[in-house]
């Protein structure tokens, strides 16, 4: 299994993503430069977090037009596995590979904290190594992470099983508190496309792959992709 991780000017988490991919047994990872349209025969593409092209104009709006993204769009349309994390999720929405859009957090601030995610669908190719209902401890860190889609689209995504991860509700002693850090519609943390080969999420699974740094739950996303590839 060979992962390709894109590097735009302004990418921040691409090295973290490479390290996460390489923790999957049998997997390797390489960086793909934004100006190079050649995907170098990788088996899956990761669009990492950061501030591609400075996030000028609108988050993800410029990256979508880079030479490498033209190839990624073609790769995705042909069924290739594409994972977008944070800014990568924003880029995939801008590119039309995923429905909806990411809006500024309700509190309009950058927020960095560990959250619990509920696995809504445990299915190939991104969450097969999880169990449905399982809680994953993975950090979020973003200013523009409030997932939005029109009500009709949301309903179709819900009924089509395309919502893979939700911010979990936390049950305290007295009441249930929303764990939704940004005001996303339907507590959505991650969605896939209709074909099932493109997945975007705001939380950072690449920052949850090492017990020393807090959690290994994020590794399941990368290992699921490797298992799906076979």
């Amino acid at each position: 299994m060979r992962f390709g991780v894109i590097r735009f000017p302004g990418s921040c988490d691409e090295v973290d993503a490479v390290l996460a991919c390489e923790r999957v047994p049998g997997a390797s990872a390489q960086v793909l430069w934004h100006r190079d349209p050649d995907l170098h025969d990788v088996d899956a593409v990761v669009v990492p977090g950061g501030f591609s092209y400075g996030d000028y104009l609108r988050v993800g709006a410029i990256a979508r037009f880079s030479p490498v993204m033209e190839s990624v769009i073609r790769f995705a349309r042909e069924g290739g596995l594409v994972l977008g994390i944070c800014n990568g999720f924003q880029v995939l929405c801008e590119a039309g590979l995923l429905p909806g859009a990411l809006l500024p957090n309700l509190e309009r601030r950058f927020i960095c904290r560990q959250v619990n995610l509920e696995v809504v669908q445990a299915s190939m190719p991104f969450t097969a190594d999880c169990a449905a209902g399982e809680l994953l401890s993975i950090p979020v860190k973003h200013t523009t992470g409030r997932y939005y889609a029109p009500a009709d689209d949301l309903a179709a995504m819900e009924s089509g099983g395309r919502i893979l991860l939700r911010y979990a509700r936390e049950s305290g002693a007295k009441r249930t508190i929303s764990g939704n850090p940004n005001g996303s519609s339907n507590d959505i943390a991650g969605v896939r496309n209709a074909a099932g080969n493109v997945f975007g999420l705001m939380p950072h699974p690449e920052h949850a792959v090492d017990p020393l740094t807090g959690s290994v739950d994020g590794l399941k996303i990368f290992s699921s992709m490797a298992h799906a590839h076979g």
Partner: protein, 737 residues
């Protein structure tokens, strides 16, 4: 030709102007005067502090790069070095807090990659007036926003820091940023220009009129009423531009294409070129008509002193020039050859063929007069007593109220509402995040080893006693490292003081530096670099003298890095160390509106060092479940913090400590008195604490467990649930709604 009046308007004294005329043998022209006024400013020349700074110890077995370069560095083994430095951006932040703080982070990051190290962490040290003030709320919100905006966008984690709120910072906030970088020891690069005929390449952002004269106008004078008018002298930061400049610099280094590298900070092209020429003992010719500009009609002197951000200057071999420019093109940072190295020992500025400035480099860099300070110990009461917010305790039932008031005090309340706005995770090295341990802990590559970092500097206690207070700051910082299991390797500092031309401020500065030197010598810890920020005063008077220290330490195994929170139900809790609590100068004394004492109890550095080493050893070998130093708010506050950090309650019987405490004041001293760097709340198996007691004084306090903190001390009993403690400790959160 400019006149002496114009020189004075630029911040020079008439005597300095005369000296400049002597040095160059004529009257300086407009360009030369602009350059000299910046090179001879306090900010660039350290003319009121350099003599004192020479007394600091700068040698140590682990020193990799000492003062003089853009940042210092220590050896962390396996061929790796950690570079680090702290710098102020106080005056810009007081004028425009978002951009001031953001460019403070940008500037310190450039210092790190300018020596060839990849930036791996940022910490910040902030000082504001009381949070009840609207101005403080504005400054805090925007400064935190600026720090986050820059650090988050550039992919360097902000892993820690500190903030204090005190009235004397109301008009003069402090924004100090510390950055760390990681490099192979053979990969460090110097800033000395070399190789006659080698081209000088400027890369990064284009040059505009932003920040013109920032070093002299903002950083080297007191702030006054009309500071809003100085806003154009505050630079505007672009982290995206810096990210590209950083990656470009590191790639140029990795390919071995650089002879010398220097960032453009205060005084822009002027100071960077003069420093490079001075260190290399060469001359430089610069053609300002080649400098890419972002606005038209800029004068040569404006180009030379512009403080436009995100620019770097390098010297390369002629044969490498095309490859250097190609790497700049790859990262879209616009590299341009703007000059060359000469054997003239002069900084010469051209516009095309026309020579517009010709200045001897030694005159610019070395010949600025250094001043002896006129020192006079001030009369008592330089600072007004803080406004009281908490009544004097009278009955035995008041101590629970006191505890909650302390936890909610702005100087003690949880900093997570600030830290949650910073990315502390990027680069995947963060072993201990903010408020998980007393120091941030980062993993080193390909090794179980790691580094721990803390930044500290209580100004109020330095105001009480500049000498002892500064020693306490250093020991507080090393105590934080000890709790993480780390041994200190080196120190950087930022000395934030008022106007040194006033004898009582000069006394504070002199005594503080004496304390810093004595502490570092007693701890065998070199000062690897630092920064001085003077003239931090306004109509409201001087700030508390605030020497901020940042220390990098090393630990052998990050899997055993310490935690501050109680980690296991049933563990025994103890107070360890030569803890001799006192109330004068403490946080409780502040809440009660007590005047600052004149002088603090003297500190036995060797005794505290031994205690900290014992704690460190017991953290390192995994004997202790938690370790947390007793700082502001004293013993009970520290226990409550360990409860909150671990999400576990505790039951304490302080009978032994408080037995003799018949009166409320004495109980307050035991429960809430302070003794910086000397006391530690530790938890672990009883057997481990017994062993620890063989090395250092250990007093058993109680047991971890339950969902409340329950304390009995003689006839006093305190009970607070974790929820109650958490609510009090969350007092800063409403500032960020």
């Amino acid at each position: 030709m400019p006149t002496v009046e114009q020189a004075v308007a630029l911040g020079l004294t008439p005597a300095e102007y005369e000296l400049i005329c002597d040095q160059i043998g004529r009257t300086p022209n407009e360009v030369e005067l602009a350059v000299f006024s910046l090179m001879w400013s306090e900010h660039c020349a350290y003319k009121h502090s350099k003599k004192l700074l020479r007394s600091l110890p700068t040698e140590g077995p682990r020193l990799a790069l000492g003062p003089g370069e853009n940042a210092g560095a220590v050896d962390v083994g396996d061929g790796w070095v950690v570079a680090f430095k702290v710098e102020s951006h106080n005056h810009p932040s007081a004028v425009e807090p978002f951009q001031g703080a953001a460019t403070g982070v940008g500037g310190i990051l450039r210092d790190i990659f300018a020596i060839g190290a990849r930036p791996i962490a940022v910490l910040d040290s902030l000082r504001f007036g009381e949070p009840s003030s609207a101005r403080t709320q504005y400054l805090l919100d925007h400064a935190v926003g600026g720090i986050g905006h820059y650090g988050n966008s550039i992919g360097v984690p902000t892993i820690g820091g500190e903030v204090y709120f005190e009235e004397p910072y109301e008009q003069n906030c402090l924004v100090n940023a510390m950055a760390l970088g990681l490099a192979r020891s053979e990969g460090l690069i110097r800033s000395a220009a070399a190789g006659i005929g080698n081209p000088l390449v400027l890369f990064g952002a284009s040059t505009g009129r932003d920040g013109i004269g920032g070093a002299s106008v903002l950083a080297s004078a007191e702030l006054g009423e009309e500071d809003a008018a100085k806003r154009p002298t505050v630079q505007v930061g672009d982290p995206f531009a810096e990210k590209k400049v950083m990656e470009c610099s590191l790639e140029l280094l990795e390919r071995g294409l650089l002879v010398a590298l220097q960032d453009l900070g205060a005084a822009g092209l002027t100071s960077s070129s003069a420093e490079m020429a001075s260190k290399g003992e060469v001359g430089l010719d610069i053609d300002v008509s080649l400098v890419p500009l972002r606005e038209s009609g800029m004068q040569p002197w404006e180009i030379m002193i512009s403080e436009s951000q995100e620019r770097m200057l390098c010297v390369v071999e002629p044969s490498d020039l095309n490859e250097v420019l190609a790497v700049c093109e790859k990262w879209e940072v616009g590299g341009t050859a703007i000059g060359s190295v000469t054997d003239t020992r002069a900084l010469r500025v051209f516009v095309g063929e026309e020579l517009v400035a010709d200045m001897p480099v030694p005159a610019l860099v070395d010949d600025c007069p250094l001043y002896d300070l006129v020192v006079e110990q001030p009369p008592a009461g330089l600072y007004a007593a803080p406004s009281p917010v908490l009544e004097q305790a009278t009955g035995a039932s008041d101590h629970g109220v006191t505890l909650l008031a302390l936890l909610a005090s702005p100087n003690i309340a949880s900093r997570l509402p600030l830290f949650a706005q910073y990315d502390c995770l990027v680069q995947s090295r963060t072993i201990r995040r903010p408020e998980q341990a007393d120091a941030a802990v980062l993993a080193l590559p390909e090794s179980p080893r790691g580094i721990a970092i803390s930044i500290d500097g209580s100004g109020r206690r330095v105001a009480c006693d500049p000498y002892t207070g500064t020693i306490e700051n250093v020991l507080e910082c090393t105590a934080n490292l000890a709790c993480a299991g780390a041994e200190p390797l080196g120190l950087t500092n930022c000395l934030n003081f008022g106007n040194p031309e006033k004898p009582h401020i000069a006394w504070q500065l002199t005594e503080s530096i004496r304390g810093l030197g004595d502490a570092c010598r007693a701890l065998d810890m070199p000062v690897v670099g630092g920064n001085v920020s003077l003239y931090n005063e306004s109509g409201g008077g001087p700030i508390y003298p605030t020497p901020v220290v940042g220390i990098v330490g090393e630990l052998p195994d990050v899997a055993l890095a310490g935690r501050s929170g109680f980690a296991r139900v049933g563990d025994t809790i103890a107070l360890a160390g030569p803890f001799r609590p006192a109330l004068p100068g403490s946080e409780l004394a502040k809440l009660r509106g007590c005047a600052l004492p004149v002088g603090l109890p003297s500190v036995d550095i060797a005794e505290l060092r031994a205690a900290q080493e014992a704690i460190r050893d017991f953290v390192r070998d995994g004997s202790l479940s938690s370790a947390h130093d007793v700082a502001e708010g004293g013993l009970l506050t520290a226990v409550a913090e360990s409860c909150l950090a671990g999400g576990r309650g505790a039951t304490l019987d302080l009978g032994a400590l408080a037995r003799a405490s018949a009166d409320a004041d004495e109980r307050d001293r035991v429960l809430f008195g302070e003794s910086p760097g000397a006391g530690f709340v530790v938890s672990g198996p009883e057997e481990a604490l017994r062993r620890l007691g063989e090395d250092v004084g250990v007093e058993t306090l109680g047991t971890v467990g339950g969902d409340a903190l329950r304390v009995t001390a003689g006839d006093v009993s305190i009970e607070a649930t974790l929820d109650e403690l958490r609510t009090a400790h969350g007092a800063l959160a409403p500032l960020f709604l």
